[in-house]
Amino acid sequence: MGIVLITLTLLLVSTISETRPISYPGGSTVMAFTDNLKDSLYYHYSPSYKYSIGLESLKHKVLEQDYSYVRFTYLLNRKNTQNSQRNLYFQSGVSLNGVNNHFYGVHGDWETRRWFSGFGYKQERREVEDYSEQFVQLGLAPYLGDYGDFHTWIMIKTKKNSLSGSWSTYPLLKFFKGDFLIEFGYNDKTKLDAHLMYRF
C-alpha cells in the first residue's frame, strides 16, 4: 500500500523545477538562465523560507524584447517526511515596463535523496503576445553524496510553450556543491538549456 501511495504521489506531483525558488531566511540567490525562449538574470532575497522577492532582467529571444520584472514567489505548501520533501509554489512577476506585462503560475517538486520530480506551469501576459510555458522534470541521483560533497543528478525534462506549440524532451545534468549549482541540457530543437545558481 505504501509503495502504491508513493508511486501515485510521484505520478501526481511530478511537474517545473526552478531549483529552490526560495532560500533560507536572510538568504540571497543569483540565477542565470538561458533556453530557446530567453536569457535571464534573476536575483532574489528570502526574508523567510515561505517567500522571496526579487528582480529579473530578461531578453526574450522570440518576441525580441527586453523586460525587467519585480518577482514574488510564495511557498503554498510543504510536506516534510523523514525521507522526502514536497513543495508547491506560487510564482508571479510584474514588469517595470508596465503592468500589462506580467506572469503568474505554479510549480512544485517532490524529492528524496535519490529521486526528484518537478513540474511547472506559467502564464505570460504580454502587450505583444500572451503565451504559456509548462514542463515536467524527473531525476535520479546516481550516487548519494554526503554533506559538502559534489552532488550529481541525471534528469529528463520535457517542456512546451504555446509559441512553439510542441513538446521538447531532452536529458539534463545537474551538479552542485556547497552554494553553487549548474544545470544544463541540450537538444537539436531547443538548443542549450542552462541554469547557474549561487546562494549567499
Binding site: R20, G27, S48, R78, N80
Partner: protein, 135 residues
C-alpha cells in the same frame, strides 16, 4: 508528449517503485545504532560522529533529528542559521540519517525549543534531540 518521453516516464516509474521499496526495506533493517558508555543509543553515523568529536573536549554534542532535510541545499540554510550562535563550536550534517550535529561549549544551556525554532525557520521539522557530553 512524444514517444521518448513516454518511454522515459514509464522506466522512471518502474525504477521509482523498485528503489523506493529497496530503500524503505533498508531503513527497517539497517538502522545503525552504537551504544555509548552510559548505554544510550547513538543514532548517527558512528564514523562521521567519531571524526566530528576528534579534538573536542569539554563539549556538549547535540544530535538533532530533522524531517525534510533530503538534500545538501536544504541543510545549508540550517548550518548558516546555527553558525550565528557563537556558543556553537562545530557543525556537521549526516544527510543519510537526517541529523544535524552541533558541538556546544559546556557553559551553554541547550534548550530544545531554541534548536527546534532554528530548524523550523528553515522550513524543516525537528523530531528528536540527543545530547551527549564530551569530557
Amino acid at each position: 508528449m512524444n514517444k521518448i518521453f513516454r518511454a522515459a516516464f514509464l522506466i522512471y516509474c518502474a525504477f521509482a517503485v523498485m528503489v523506493t521499496y529497496a530503500e524503505s526495506s533498508d531503513q527497517h533493517n539497517g538502522h545503525i545504532h552504537e551504544t555509548l558508555v552510559d548505554g544510550e543509543k547513538l543514532e548517527v553515523d558512528p564514523e562521521l560522529f567519531g571524526k566530528f568529536v576528534e579534538g573536542l573536549t569539554k563539549s556538549q554534542i547535540a544530535i538533532v533529528s530533522v524531517k525534510g532535510m533530503v538534500c545538501d541545499f536544504c541543510a545549508r540554510g540550517i548550518e548558516k542559521t546555527f553558525r550565528k550562535d557563537k556558543t556553537i563550536q562545530k557543525i556537521n550534517v549526516d544527510l543519510s540519517r537526517g541529523k544535524v550535529i552541533l558541538a556546544y561549549s559546556m557553559d551553554k544551556e541547550i534548550v530544545r525549543e531554541e534548536i527546534s525554532h532554528n530548524i523550523l525557520i528553515n522550513g524543516q521539522n525537528m523530531t528528536d534531540l540527543q545530547v551527549i557530553t564530551i569530557n
